[in-house]
C-alpha cells in the first residue's frame, strides 16, 4: 500500500511498526503530538532552569580554567534548550507559548534543579550524577520515533557525555586534594545521589504514562530499568574516586539481572514536584525576572526588524535578537 492510499492513522501505525521516524509533515494522533510537546518542552525547560544552579558558581570558580569550562557548559545548556524548543515548534507550539507556560508556573521541568548548589563540589556532582542520569535517560531518546526530537538528542547526548566526564574530573581532583576538598566532594555526592536516582521518575508500577510512550517508540526502557543501569554505572565509578555512595543496600540481583538500591524518599520527590522544594520559587522567579527585564530589549529588536523590513508594526519577529 502506498502512503497516498493509506489513512493517516494507518501510515502512522506502519511507521511505528517499522520502527521508522515520524516527521513533522506526517499525520500523527493528537495524543502522540501532545505527549511529545509535553516531553520535549519539559526537557527544554529543564535545560534552561538547569543553567541556574551551575551559573551560581561561574563568578566564584576556583581557577580560570574551571571558570571557562563551567561557562562553556552552562552555555551548552542554553544551546540544548534552543534545539529542543525548535524541535517542539515543529509540532506546532511556538516557543513564546512554551516560555509563557514556564514562567507562569504551568509547565514542569526536572525537579533536580530545585536543589541548591552549596559548594564547588556540586559542580562535580551535578556533572557526574545529574548529567550521568540524564544521559542514561536520553541515549535511548536518540532513537525516539519523532525525527526532530531524536536528531536533537543525538547532539545533546554528545555534549552531555562530555559534561559528565568534566564533572567526574572535578570530583577526582577534589578527591585527590586536601582533606577539606575531599570532604566537600563526599558531601556533594551524599546530597545529589538520591535526587539523581529519582530523576528517572517514579517506580514502574506508579508511572502511568510510560506504557503508551513505550508503545509509540518514544520511550524505550522503563524508569526502573534505566535507574538500575545507572546505579550499576556509578557504583563502579565511585570506587575510582575513592569515595562512597550514601546507600548500603546497593547490590546486583543475579536473578532479575538488575542493580538494586535502597529505598528512595518518594514523598520528598512529590513535595518538590508540587513546588515545595528548596529552590522552586527562586528558580522560577529568576527565569521570570530575566524574561520580564529583557522584554524591552526583545521589543526593540522586533521594532528594528520591522523598521528594516520597511513595514513598521507588521511582521515583527519576536525571536529576532541581532546576535550573529
Amino acid at each position: 500500500m502506498s502512503g497516498e492510499t493509506m489513512s493517516g492513522q494507518e501510515h502512522f501505525d506502519a511507521l511505528i511498526a517499522a520502527d521508522a521516524r515520524v516527521e513533522p509533515r506526517d499525520w500523527m494522533p493528537e495524543g502522540y503530538r501532545k505527549t511529545l510537546v509535553r516531553q520535549i518542552s519539559q526537557h527544554a525547560h529543564s535545560e534552561i532552569i538547569g543553567m541556574q544552579p551551575e551559573a551560581n558558581w561561574i563568578t566564584r570558580a576556583p581557577s580560570l580554567k574551571r571558570k571557562a569550562i563551567l561557562m562553556a557548559k552552562v552555555q551548552d545548556e542554553a544551546g540544548h534548550g534552543l534545539y529542543l524548543y525548535s524541535a517542539a515548534e515543529t509540532l506546532g507550539t511556538p516557543r513564546d507559548q512554551m516560555t509563557a507556560d514556564l514562567i507562569a508556573g504551568k509547565a514542569r521541568y526536572s525537579s533536580i534543579f530545585n536543589y541548591p548548589t552549596l559548594t564547588w563540589a556540586d559542580m562535580g556532582a551535578i556533572g557526574w550524577l545529574v548529567d550521568g542520569a540524564a544521559i542514561c535517560n536520553q541515549v535511548p531518546l536518540c532513537r525516539a520515533s519523532y525525527g526532530p526530537y531524536g536528531r536533537a538528542m543525538v547532539r545533546i547526548c554528545k555534549e552531555e557525555s562530555f559534561h559528565q566526564r568534566q564533572g567526574f574530573e572535578i570530583l577526582l581532583e577534589l578527591a585527590n586534594g586536601t582533606a577539606a576538598q575531599r570532604d566537600m566532594a563526599q558531601d556533594a555526592i551524599n546530597r545529589w545521589y538520591a535526587p539523581s536516582l529519582m530523576m528517572f521518575g517514579p517506580p514502574d508500577e506508579d508511572s502511568p504514562n510510560s506504557r503508551q510512550s513505550m508503545a509509540w517508540n518514544i520511550k524505550r526502557f522503563s524508569n526502573d530499568e534505566l535507574r538500575s543501569r545507572f546505579v550499576g554505572m556509578i557504583v563502579e565509578q565511585v570506587k575510582v574516586l575513592g569515595l562512597t555512595l550514601p546507600d548500603t543496600d546497593i547490590r546486583y540481583n543475579e536473578e532479575t539481572e538488575r542493580w538494586e538500591h535502597g529505598p528512595l524518599d518518594w514523598k520528598e520527590f512529590s513535595e518538590v514536584l508540587a513546588g515545595r522544594g528548596p529552590c522552586n520559587s527562586q528558580r522560577l522567579a529568576r527565569r521570570r525576572e530575566a524574561h520580564e527585564d529583557g522584554a524591552w530589549v526583545r521589543e526593540a529588536a522586533a521594532a528594528y526588524a520591522a523598521r528594516q523590513a520597511g513595514s513598521v508594526g507588521a511582521g515583527a519577529v519576536s525571536n529576532e535578537t541581532g546576535a550573529a
Partner: protein, 272 residues
C-alpha cells in the same frame, strides 16, 4: 567589518594558555607588566559578563554573551600566563592571589553591568578598543604577545559586530530602548579616555607594545560610524581621571574580586 567569525577558529590553529606556560618563554619585567594590563582588562570584563549567563533578555543572548566572556577568559589566561612567566607565577596566582591595588585593569571594565543597554555600551567601547589594540599588537616584536593578539583579534572582531548590531537595535528600536541606550552611553563615556592614556611603560617598550594614544583615531572613526548609523551621538560628558594602570581603582573592583577570589582563597595551596 571582516566576515571572519570567531567560531571558525579551531583549537588546532590557536595558541592556548597551556602552550604559553609550556613554551617556557620568560617575559622581561616590563613586558610582563604590559601583559598584565591586557590580561586584567580581559579577566575583569569576563567576570562581569559571566553574570549574564542565565539572565539575558533572550536565550540567544545567553549564548552570545557567554561566548564573548569565554573568549575574554581565554585572552586573560594567555596574557596572565605570559605575565606570570617573568617571576614564576601562574595565571591563577595572578588572578586569585593579588589584591585590588595590584590589578592593572582600566576602570571601564569594572563598571557594573547595569541594564542590557549599559552592558552593550561597555561592550561597544571595549570591543572597538581591543580590535584596534590587538590588530596592532599582532605585529609586536615580542612573538608571544603577537601570537596572543593574532588569535584575539579575530574573536574581538565578532564582539565588535555583536555590540554594533545591538547599538543599532537599541538606538533605533523603541523610544524606551533609545532612551536607555543614550543614558548607557552617558554612563560609559567618562571611562573611555583612560584606555588611550600613554605612560612610561607603554612608551619604553617600543615596537613590543602599542602606544594607547595611537589607537584613538581609528577607534573614534569606528565608534562614530556605528553611532551615526544608530542616530546617536558621542555623549558630551566629562572624563573620569582613571588610574587603573597604576592600581588605583573605582569602588567596584573590590567587590568583584572578593566574589571571584573567595573560594580559591579559602583553600590556599589547593589544586582544582
Amino acid at each position: 567589518m571582516s566576515s571572519d567569525s570567531a567560531t571558525r577558529i579551531t583549537p588546532g590553529n590557536a595558541l592556548r594558555p597551556e602552550d604559553i606556560a609550556a613554551a617556557g618563554t620568560r617575559a622581561d619585567r616590563d613586558t610582563a607588566a604590559y601583559a598584565l594590563r591586557l590580561g586584567d582588562d580581559a579577566l575583569v570584563l569576563a567576570q562581569r559578563l559571566g553574570w549574564w549567563i542565565s539572565r539575558a533578555p533572550e536565550l540567544e543572548e545567553d549564548v552570545a554573551l557567554g561566548n564573548i566572556a569565554l573568549d575574554l577568559i581565554g585572552h586573560a589566561r594567555s596574557f596572565l600566563s605570559y605575565a606570570g612567566s617573568a617571576d614564576g607565577r601562574t595565571e591563577d596566582d595572578l588572578a586569585y592571589w593579588r589584591n585590588e591595588t595590584e590589578f592593572r585593569s582600566a576602570h571601564l571594565v569594572e563598571q557594573p553591568n547595569g541594564d542590557f543597554a549599559r552592558t552593550i555600551a561597555r561592550q561597544l567601547v571595549v570591543s572597538f578598543y581591543q580590535f584596534e589594540l590587538y590588530g596592532s599588537l599582532q605585529h609586536s616584536a615580542d612573538p608571544t604577545l603577537a601570537a596572543i593578539a593574532a588569535k584575539a583579534v579575530k574573536e574581538v572582531d565578532y564582539h565588535r559586530d555583536h555590540s554594533a548590531q545591538w547599538v543599532l537595535r537599541l538606538g533605533l528600536g523603541t523610544a524606551e530602548s533609545r532612551g536607555r541606550m543614550i543614558r548607557a552611553l552617558e554612563l560609559t563615556w567618562p571611562y573611555v579616555g583612560e584606555l588611550f592614556d600613554d605612560d612610561e611603560l607603554a612608551a619604553s617598550l617600543g615596537d613590543r607594545a602599542v602606544l594607547p594614544s595611537s589607537l584613538k583615531p581609528a577607534f573614534d572613526r569606528g565608534i562614530a560610524a556605528v553611532l551615526r548609523q544608530a542616530e546617536l551621538e558621542v555623549p558630551a560628558v566629562p572624563s573620569a581621571p582613571g588610574g587603573g594602570r597604576r592600581g588605583q581603582h573605582s569602588e567596584h573592583l573590590g567587590y568583584l574580586l572578593a566574589e571571584m577570589q573567595v573560594l580559591a582563597r579559602d583553600h590556599p595551596g589547593a589544586a582544582w
